[in-house]
């Protein structure tokens, strides 16, 4: 699978579409259970994933991890450092880790995450855990592409939480106050629980649990593992799979269009950009309409 993923990861939009057309028929429909782990930089996402992944493996799952790190907007290069924090499970044959750069995306994911996850279906894995870039308030695209969103918070990040209330905080299915051995964890968990309760107005709605974890307490991750199972069961009973599939396809197509638009804009000559936005927009539309053919790049 490693090389198959690289083909998608490095592909232009034209190549991606070609790959998808070739694999559409034999691809199973949404079998991989997708878990997203998001939170601020330094919240402990990678370490938490390594603990979580070994729990999932104990359940008998084969787990893929897609860890996204930011691409430098200056050099386009990246340091993909999440794997170092996953040392403990790096050796496990039931866990596959792929580090990917965010490339042009600014939404906490990589601009081709949806296509990568698409390509991972049917590859002998039961679950995939997606680790976002360290995010702030509004980068919640992860919601669109995974089944269970785990938001990792730190004790004493109260101010940040206030700020997040209108964004990411509303998107989580499970809250984790990590590094709970630090002071302030109880208070933080209480604050979050108060807002989480308000979300469960609907009869039978999901009440997001608020957990506390600490890498000093291996057992604290068992509760996270169980909460994911509970959310999974709830989704199976309550969430319309067709609706989810359509929402994902929408996100994926949006991504393909905007990547293609960026490819075209980057290829545009400087003086073409001296025209009015409307003229450029129309020129771009014409180019988009002439769909990229196989091997035109």
């Amino acid at each position: 699978m490693s090389r198959a993923l690289s083909r998608v990861a490095n592909a232009t939009v034209a190549e991606t579409l070609k790959h998808q057309a070739e694999h559409q028929a034999k691809r199973p429909d949404q079998e991989l259970y997708r878990i997203g782990v998001t939170g601020a930089p330094g919240a402990g996402k990678s370490t938490l994933i390594s603990r979580l992944a070994s729990r999932r493996v104990e359940r008998g799952a084969k787990v893929a991890v897609v860890a996204i790190d930011p691409t430098s907007p200056v050099s386009q290069g990246s340091i993909l450092g999440d794997r170092i924090r996953m040392d403990a499970v790096s050796d496990d044959p039931n866990i596959f880790i792929r580090s990917i750069p965010s490339r042009r995306a600014h939404d906490g994911l990589a601009d081709n995450t949806a296509d990568l996850l698409w390509a991972m279906e049917g590859h002998d894995f039961d679950e995939v855990i997606v680790e976002t870039v360290g995010v702030g308030q509004a980068e919640y695209s992860i919601r669109a592409i995974v089944d269970t969103v785990v938001l990792v918070l730190l004790p004493e990040s109260g101010d940040a939480v206030q700020a997040m209330k209108a964004g990411l905080l509303e998107m989580a299915d499970i809250y984790v106050v990590n590094k709970a051995d630090l002071p302030g964890a109880e208070l933080m968990a209480g604050d979050i629980a108060a807002t989480a309760d308000r979300r469960a107005d609907v009869e039978g709605g999901w009440v997001p649990p608020v957990l506390q974890t600490s890498s000093r307490d291996a057992d604290s991750f068992a509760a996270l593992d169980e909460a994911i199972e509970a959310h999974r069961a709830w989704r199976q009973a309550r969430v319309d799979a067709d609706q989810v599939r359509r929402a994902r396809t929408r996100y994926q197509v949006q991504g393909l269009i905007s990547r293609r638009a960026e490819e075209l804009l980057e290829a545009m000559a400087e003086d073409e950009l001296d025209r009015s936005p409307k003229e450029i927009y129309q020129a771009l539309l014409r180019q988009l309409a002439s769909a990229p053919e196989d091997g035109d790049e």
């Binding site: 050099s75 290069g77 993909l80 450092g81 794997r83 040392d87 580090s99």
Partner: protein
């Protein structure tokens, strides 16, 4: 129009003839028992600044582990940073482990304290470049760039 940092980097890359590192995936690895990774980190950062996607293994990894990460991450090249004197054994094992995983096409370069007497042996063992502390970072980058473009 002011000159931005990005312009400077583009100019620097052009001056150094660096074209091919953008989008290349490179694993920087620390095999063996020495715990000094300043050099490895400097090279990792320089590669990032040249546009590569760089994965760092962390300290004290076995050749077997390094080879498996290289395959899972599907890198173009592995850079082994070694200051412990065990470079001959480590290189031979890493080459074997990569071959065993059907990944003999992944290039290996080495850096660190590698005595000149050992260079020919390492090249014969399958290493594509040897970059020692006497070289400037720019020279190392140009050399890696050339190797990966080939």
């Amino acid at each position: 129009m002011g000159v931005t940092l990005k312009d400077e980097i583009v100019a620097w890359k052009t001056d150094n003839g660096i074209m091919s590192l953008k989008g290349k995936r490179i694993l920087i690895a620390k095999p063996g028992l020495d715990g000094h990774d300043v050099g490895a980190k400097i090279i990792a950062l320089a590669l990032r600044d040249a546009g590569a996607d760089v994965i760092y293994t962390g300290l004290r990894k076995s050749p077997d582990y390094i080879a498996r990460v290289a395959v899972d991450e599907d890198v173009d090249a592995v850079g082994l940073s070694m200051l412990s004197g065990s470079h001959k054994e480590i290189v031979a094992e890493t080459v074997d482990c990569l071959a065993a995983l059907d990944a003999g096409d992944i290039k290996i370069f080495v850096g660190g304290t590698i005595p000149a007497d050992d260079h020919a042996g390492l090249i014969a063992a399958g290493v594509c470049g040897i970059y020692t502390a006497e070289m400037t970072v720019d020279d190392v980058l140009s050399a890696i760039d050339k190797e990966l473009a080939a």
